[in-house]
């Protein structure tokens, strides 16, 4: 029989020289097939003497394994080369623009309300709501604004049809929800009320519809120091300025006593407006201790309970925070504006993940 080493060299040379898959397969059949050369040699082992057979059998097995491995390896190599060739033919133009996905946005008013709720929610406030169309009692009288009170004139009220006494009004502030909550629930009360409000005024800084957020906290012990704590924390969190100067000034609202307006620090240094330390103050909200008459009007004993309330304009704080120059643009639904000032769907504000991007 042939020398297995010589045979191996011969076969390996043929494997290396095989031109294609078919040649390789023919080679495999010729050596390892049923009638293949190496198969035949394996068959010849039976006629050998037992002592010879063992050594020759081992040598043949090694030879067979090596040939099979060489053919498999060459096959894999050819398959790889085939795939590479095919892949090159499948080339596409990857500079083609992708199919457009419409981009949605959240309106800055919604986003700002979400931010406000995130902050006050952290302080234990829950969101309460009430109707936009109100009666005179909830919107004015119960809030210690009796008929002919001079403060009524400053409200520029919209009216619905009806006689003078019973006609409905579009709520001029979110404060009637204070009344609705206090007449329905017992203290302790801790609510915020974001919502639509209406005043018959329309110019660059007034819109017939705008949004406010109201806050109300009633219990036995909360005082004006707590009000200060609550609102200073809010302002610093909302505007994301840790050391934001916040100033409380005496003011007047019929439904609070004492009353205050709150200013935050700002600067126009270098011609650019910025919220923070500076020479200026900017009024952003009104607040105070709930007037005892208001508590009594809601059936809450003012000798036992006290608390504070506050209210601010959503658009105003949004304009200040996001540098939106004109109030009227909020309601124009101009897509260029909405895309520029809007927020992406997954930018959900929270105190853990942060308010703004």
């Amino acid at each position: 029989m042939d020398n297995p080493d010589k045979l191996l060299d011969d076969v390996l040379a043929k494997v290396a020289a095989a031109a294609d898959m078919d040649a390789l397969e023919a080679l495999r059949v010729g050596e390892l097939g049923k009638k293949g050369r190496i198969t035949e040699m394996m068959k010849g082992l039976g006629q050998m003497a037992p002592d010879e057979r063992k050594a020759a059998g081992q040598a043949l097995n090694v030879l067979k394994d090596k040939v099979a491995a060489a053919i498999d390896s060459k096959k894999a190599e050819m398959a790889d080369a085939d795939l590479d060739r095919r892949l090159m033919t499948e080339k596409i133009d990857v500079t083609l623009p992708t199919a457009p996905a419409a981009e949605g946005y959240i309106h800055p008013i919604s986003q700002t309300i979400d931010e406000v709720v995130a902050i006050f929610g952290e302080m234990g406030f829950t969101v309460a709501e009430g109707p936009d169309i109100e009666d005179d009692w909830h919107n004015f009288t119960a809030l210690n604004i009796p008929p002919d009170h001079p403060a009524r004139q400053e409200h520029d009220t919209f009216y619905l049809p009806g006689d003078y006494e019973t006609r409905k009004v579009l709520r001029t502030h979110t404060s009637p929800v204070q009344i609705r909550t206090m007449t329905a629930e017992k203290p302790p009360i801790r609510i915020i009320v974001p919502g639509r409000t209406f005043r018959s005024d329309h110019d660059a800084t007034h819109s017939p519809m705008f949004h406010q957020v109201e806050g109300l906290l009633v219990d036995r012990t909360s005082h004006m120091g707590h009000l200060k704590g609550c609102l200073i924390e809010f302002c610093r969190a909302f505007f994301e300025v840790d050391d934001l100067p916040v100033r409380f000034r005496p003011s007047y609202f019929p439904f609070t006593e004492p009353s205050a307006e709150v200013d935050i620090g700002c600067t126009r240094a270098g011609g650019e407006f910025r919220i923070g330390h500076g020479e200026g103050w900017l009024e952003i909200l009104g607040c105070g201790m709930v007037n005892p008459n208001v508590l009594a009007n809601c059936g809450i004993d003012p000798t036992e309970y006290q608390g504070f309330a506050f209210g601010m304009g959503i658009e105003r704080i949004a304009m200040l925070k996001y540098g939106i120059p004109d109030l009227r643009t909020f309601y124009e639904s101009d897509l260029r504006w909405l895309r520029h000032y809007g927020f992406r769907a997954l930018e959900v504000p929270g105190m853990v993940g942060g308010l703004a991007r």
Partner: protein, 800 residues
């Protein structure tokens, strides 16, 4: 409210700087809106004498002046007609900025003569429009000193906002009192002693009211002054009024304005010779007319307080005097009125007649009822000083109403309500300087309210007085105490749904809008609004005249506006209220959206489609799924409101009554009425109508993952063209509820091969065995059930 620093100092003895005064005003609640010194920018101008004025050699109208401004002579060419030798005027040297012209002076040559400065007119100084000549100062004026000092211009004008409760600060004296309390000085005494009357007034006053209406004018003080001469006011008074933007008119009128602004005591002065008979204060007569001082005629009614004489109405109490009996330059005898008018009646009268005045503004906020006589005495002195004359005895009708009231005050409440520690001595000091009197000691005080503080009605008001004067900045900042360490969720289930709806739609590529709750009446009618009950009586404009029955109209109009601006494919939504009644339950939240124009811009890989009903349906379904509606149990109904295309719209209902959503193309008639091109598809989802799932803990139901191979089989049915795909799919799904887990429609085909009025609907049905692998025979059996069920429900047969 405007006043000057020097005016304030007439009432307040203080060493405080202007800045201290401004800061204190704001911090006691008298918010400074502005402070401006008219001398600003004029500091460099000095007094100067024209040593000699000679005719300009080359110009008839010009003079060449040698000017001495205290540091040698300067030559100036001047065109003013009054430029003459010896005149003392105001000189601006070269390099000065002239505020009235906006020009910076440079040495120049005028028609060949050099000029090195300017003699200024009032207009050039920015003081007035007077440009008839240069400023002339008295001959005794020293030379070379700042002109603003000599002209009395160095007096800052302060403007503050007065809240409606602080009527007492509508006079400079009230402001001074607050500043004194805040520690900025002391309040100066007022000269208000009686002026003896020389005779009995020939005009008497009568209050003609019933018991019910006597509050209209409970108290009237009058005085006749004879032999006055009503000329121009002296310079000090004119300057005072001019400084705060008032126009001086005549001495008598200026005195009433001064009294109003200085001590908050509105007065009226009648020309006594034009008063017929006595003064009667009464209610108006319906139809009665009066010509007011502003030259307009008003028709009165019986709710208005009228000052009248025998000839008729001569004034509207607390609002405005009449033209007929007003004073003029020829007035010789006057009757001065200092009266008290009811705040509410005054406000109502002014509102009804749309008549605003300084008097009304003050009376409706409440005037000191104890200051009528004092006011009269001060005014009498002023009139005698400026106009001469001889006063009568006082004419008094009615009497000072008893407004005295005591408030029980616990000084501990200062800390209890405001959290700030203030000593009892300081509390008492503050109250007393503000005019309160304090009685008692220990924990329970009795505090008497001064007559001018009608706004103080309870203990909380007194706390506010103490704390605001002490300074809100001294209140400590204390974090509110929370009941529990971790907060409860701030949102309830419906509020959470709105947030989910919003962000779901934004994630689907729609842009959120916030549109007005109003819309035009004609547009509201398109959406079924109750335009009578929900009409705004006093709208801003006709476009915003009714409460919207749906946000869709506003969104469509917005899409149209965007279209006009070149954005032709608006996808907008709004989560907000729609209105159907005027009661507390007359509104509901709707999540409404529109797809307008094409689905997107032209693109090589995606062909844009016009907005269609099924795209809107997909939006509605996505929102419903997000808010937890049982989407697989909803049924599609095709009876929709008229603003939808009748054949291309539907409602998703839970049972026949509960509509959770609507979708469809907008009816072209509606688009036309709104004036937008379209096409547009819309959806409305009512998230609050989705049933709230019963509380059953947070655990999900047990998950059973099938271990056996699922099988899918396709069926193509030929049905009548009118058969709803939904009905066919429901029939197939119902054929074996245990095995069939999904039915998908994968082809809809109509063509001649099927015959007239027929279509083919092809579905894939997925079978999921749970106990063992299905045999061919079992699959065949289910298939037969499906074919039978579809056949029964729709008449459909398998396509051959």
């Amino acid at each position: 409210m405007k006043f000057t620093l020097s005016w304030l100092k007439e009432h307040l003895d203080t060493q405080a700087s202007l800045q201290q005064i401004l800061d204190t005003l704001t911090m006691v609640g008298l918010e400074v809106e502005g402070a401006r010194n008219p001398a600003e920018g004029l500091e460099t101008f000095v007094t100067a004498r024209v040593v000699e004025a000679t005719q300009h050699p080359n110009a008839d109208r010009l003079r060449v002046c040698r000017v001495d401004a205290g540091n040698g002579e300067t030559q100036v060419v001047c065109g003013a007609p009054n430029a003459r030798t010896g005149l003392i005027g105001v000189f601006a040297s070269g390099g000065s900025f002239i505020p009235g012209t906006g020009i910076t002076l440079k040495p120049t040559e005028i028609r060949g003569v050099s000029s090195n400065g300017m003699l200024l007119s009032e207009r050039e100084m920015g003081l007035s429009d007077d440009h008839d000549g240069i400023v002339e100062l008295p001959a005794s004026t020293p030379i070379g000193v700042p002109a603003v000092k000599i002209m009395g211009l160095d007096d800052p004008v302060i403007e503050i906002a007065i809240t409606p409760n602080r009527g007492d600060c509508l006079g400079v004296r009230g402001i001074a009192r607050d500043l004194a309390a805040a520690g900025l000085g002391s309040l100066k005494p007022l000269t208000n002693g009686p002026v003896p009357g020389a005779f009995e007034s020939p005009i008497k006053a009568h209050l003609d009211f019933t018991d019910e209406t006597k509050d209209a004018c409970p108290y009237f003080v009058g005085r006749y002054i004879r032999g006055v001469s009503n000329g121009e006011s002296p310079k000090w008074l004119k300057d005072k009024l001019t400084a705060i933007g008032l126009r001086p008119i005549s001495a008598l009128v200026d005195i009433t304005n001064l009294m109003t602004l200085d001590v908050n005591r509105p007065l009226h002065v009648f020309d006594a010779d034009k008063v017929k008979g006595d003064i009667r204060v009464r209610l108006g007569k319906p139809g009665e007319k009066m010509l007011a001082l502003n030259g307009k005629e008003y028709e009165l009614d019986d709710a208005m307080t009228v000052i009248s004489d025998d000839a008729g109405a001569e004034g509207l109490g607390g609002v405005m005097g009449g033209e007929i009996s007003g004073v003029t330059g020829a007035t010789v005898n006057v009757f001065v009125e200092s009266a008290l008018f009811d705040p509410r009646r005054t406000a109502t009268t002014g509102r009804k007649l749309m008549l605003q005045s300084d008097a009304r503004y003050r009376f409706e906020r409440g005037i000191d009822p104890a200051f009528l006589v004092d006011g009269m005495e001060i005014a009498t002195r002023l009139i005698m000083d400026l106009c001469g004359g001889e006063p009568s005895e006082l004419v008094i009708a009615g009497g000072r109403p008893d407004t005295a009231r005591d408030i029980a005050f616990r000084p501990d409440r200062v800390k209890g309500l405001c959290g700030v520690e203030i000593s009892r001595d300081e509390i008492q000091r503050i109250l007393m300087i503000l005019g309160f009197s304090v009685d008692g000691d220990g924990d329970a005080w009795t505090v008497r309210v001064p007559s001018w503080r009608g706004d103080i009605v309870g203990e909380a008001c007194l706390v506010e007085e103490v704390v605001r004067i002490n300074g809100y900045d001294k209140i400590p900042m204390v974090p509110p105490v929370r009941d529990s360490y971790l907060p409860k969720p701030a949102l309830n289930v419906n509020q959470k749904r709105r947030a989910l709806a919003r962000r779901t739609l934004a994630a689907r590529g729609l842009v959120e809008a916030v549109t007005f709750s109003f819309m035009a009446e004609a547009h509201a009618a398109l959406f079924g609004g109750d335009t009578e009950k929900l009409r705004v009586v006093n709208p801003i404009s006709a476009d915003l005249s009714v409460m919207r029955p749906s946000p869709l109209g506003n969104l469509l109009l917005a899409a149209g506006r965007n279209d006009d601006r070149g954005v032709a494919d608006a996808k907008l939504f709004e989560v907000g209220p729609e209105y159907f009644g005027d009661g507390p339950d007359g509104q509901r939240i709707v999540c409404a959206g529109i797809r307008y124009g094409m689905s997107g811009p032209k693109h090589w890989s995606a062909k844009p489609q016009p907005a269609d009903a099924l795209a809107a349906k997909a939006d509605a379904e996505a929102v419903l799924a997000a808010v937890g509606a049982p989407v697989d149990r909803l049924q599609v109904y095709t009876d929709t409101p008229g603003y939808y295309h009748p054949g291309r719209s539907g409602e998703l209902r839970l049972g026949p009554k509960t509509t959770l959503a609507r979708f469809g193309e907008i009816n072209p008639r509606v688009l036309k009425a709104l004036g937008v091109d379209g096409p547009a598809a819309a959806f409305e989802v009512f998230p609050d109508a989705v049933p709230t799932p019963k509380a059953k803990g947070t655990a999900r139901p047990m998950l059973n993952l099938a271990t056996y191979q699922p099988v899918e089989r396709d069926f193509a049915f030929v049905v009548d063209a009118g058969v709803a795909a939904g009905a066919l799919m429901a029939a197939a799904a119902g054929a074996d509820k245990a095995l069939i887990v999904d039915v998908r429609l994968f082809d809809v085909f109509q063509g001649p091969a099927l015959g007239e009025g027929k279509k083919s609907l092809a579905i894939t049905v997925r079978l999921q065995p749970t106990e063992k692998t299905l045999t061919d025979a079992e699959i065949e059996a289910v298939s037969a059930k499906i074919v039978a069920a579809v056949g029964k429900a729709t008449g459909g047969v398998l396509r051959g």
